[in-house]
């Protein structure tokens, strides 16, 4: 069970299973929906921020995702799968944003140069490892970052990622391999 957030007044719904909450929300229960928003909203925000590479549009993307979820909850067959269903929605919305940002570029074909270490090594030493990872992730080419985020944050299988980003599995594997290699190589600089 996910831990619930800080100083909320505990209501029985806070203890309810994902299935119960999703079922009630699908029936139109706003309070149950609010518990879902609190339970998974933070993860969705983290996810959207990573895919987008910044938090400028996170609020919008997560809000749109929940609005879509509310409207489409009735189509969710298995309420216990609501977490991965929400992650799929926020993933699509984030990818839509990426595409909208650069309408003239097909991001599937984009192959940006390997990110350089912008920070001088002195800075890298005082920077925490998580901050460093965060910076390197933000500098990855979008298609690599997308695949990495789906794999590592949303825990998608290779096949699910391929379906989501509409690329062959082999391409997804290649993108993930490149992302990992870049991260590993940059990580060597953090010691």
């Amino acid at each position: 069970m996910p831990t619930t957030a800080r100083e909320q007044i505990t209501s029985p719904l806070d203890m309810a299973s994902d299935q119960t909450l999703a079922d009630r929300a699908a029936d139109g229960d706003l309070r149950a929906f609010e518990v879902l928003v609190r339970r998974y909203g933070a993860l969705m925000r983290v996810y959207a921020t990573r895919v987008l590479g910044s938090n400028d549009e996170t609020d919008d993307v997560v809000q749109e995702s929940f609005i879509t979820a509310w409207q489409q909850l009735r189509t969710l067959e298995d309420g216990s799968a609501v977490k991965s269903w929400l992650m799929r929605i926020v993933s699509r919305k984030s990818i839509d944003r990426l595409r909208a940002r650069r309408p003239h570029i097909n991001i599937d074909d984009m192959d940006a140069p390997a990110p350089e270490s912008h920070a001088p090594h002195v800075l890298a030493e005082v920077e925490s490892q998580t901050e460093a990872l965060s910076r390197v992730l933000a500098a990855l080419p979008e298609d690599q970052r997308r695949c990495w985020t789906l794999r590592e944050l949303a825990e998608y299988s290779y096949g699910d990622i391929a379906a989501e980003v509409d690329l062959p599995v082999s391409t997804v594997r290649g993108l993930l391999a490149r992302a990992r290699k870049t991260l590993l190589r940059e990580m060597e600089e953090w010691r």
């Binding site: 029985p12 609020d59 509310w70 350089e116 998580t130 990872l133 590592e152 391999a177 290699k181 590993l184």
Partner: protein, 217 residues
């Protein structure tokens, strides 16, 4: 990109090339980072001696594991930062969703005037059923379904309700009590002819900290 400013050490791992698989494999005992990553995903089983016995692979595996640890730390710190935010983003989501989305069917109510049309929505009836359950302790009502032609007055309707009951409660008694209360509520607010209220206990709720030590704060 050369890293010549760093003296080579045994720990150092630069055995791959972003663009050259041959060089990558040459440095990793015939393997690739992708293979090693999959190997880690499988929990290093079944054991592959050509990986396990290679010092180069071992260094690469340690680097991959380290990357994973940092990733987890990053996710944790991201999550705690997001969880510490104020609640305005939650309100703004709730303010922006349409309450009309789950109205459902329209259930007619009789009215003395022949020209007046009075209805209660299916969504409102489901709400009444939930509220009824929420007033009882130690039971959580889930999905409520009205089966039957609710739009035609006088047609018998079956109500299907999913519930979670807290462990330790007497399940038949709880279900009976809920059934009575729901029946009464439907009589009070609707003109539905209720043939049956079927209650399914989907889950037993077990208090998570019942046995565990009390948490700090």
């Amino acid at each position: 990109m050369t890293r010549s400013e760093h003296p080579p050490t045994g720990e150092r791992f630069v055995a791959f090339d972003l663009n050259d698989t041959d060089r990558e494999q040459a440095g990793l005992h015939g393997h690739t980072i992708e293979e090693l990553s999959d190997y880690l995903d499988r929990g290093r089983t079944p054991a592959d001696p050509s990986i396990d016995d290679s010092p180069e692979c071992e260094i690469a595996l340690r680097s991959l594991e380290r990357l994973r640890r940092v990733q987890l730390n990053l996710l944790d710190s991201d999550l705690s930062r997001e969880s510490a935010r104020d609640d305005s983003w939650v309100s703004s989501i709730l303010d922006n969703i349409s309450r009309e989305a789950h109205r459902g069917r329209e259930i007619p109510l009789a009215h003395p005037s022949p020209t007046a049309r009075l209805v209660v929505t299916e969504g409102a009836v489901r709400g009444i059923l939930r509220e009824t359950g929420d007033r009882m302790a130690n039971i959580i009502v889930g999905r409520c379904v009205l089966v039957g032609d609710v739009e035609v007055p006088g047609m018998p309707v079956t109500v299907q309700v999913d519930v979670t009951i807290f462990q330790g409660e007497n399940i038949p008694m709880m279900a009976d009590r809920l059934r009575q209360l729901m029946f009464a509520a439907l009589q009070q607010y609707t003109e539905l002819v209720v043939a049956a209220i079927d209650i399914t206990v989907r889950d037993l709720y077990v208090e998570p900290d019942a046995a565990a030590a009390p948490k700090g704060e």
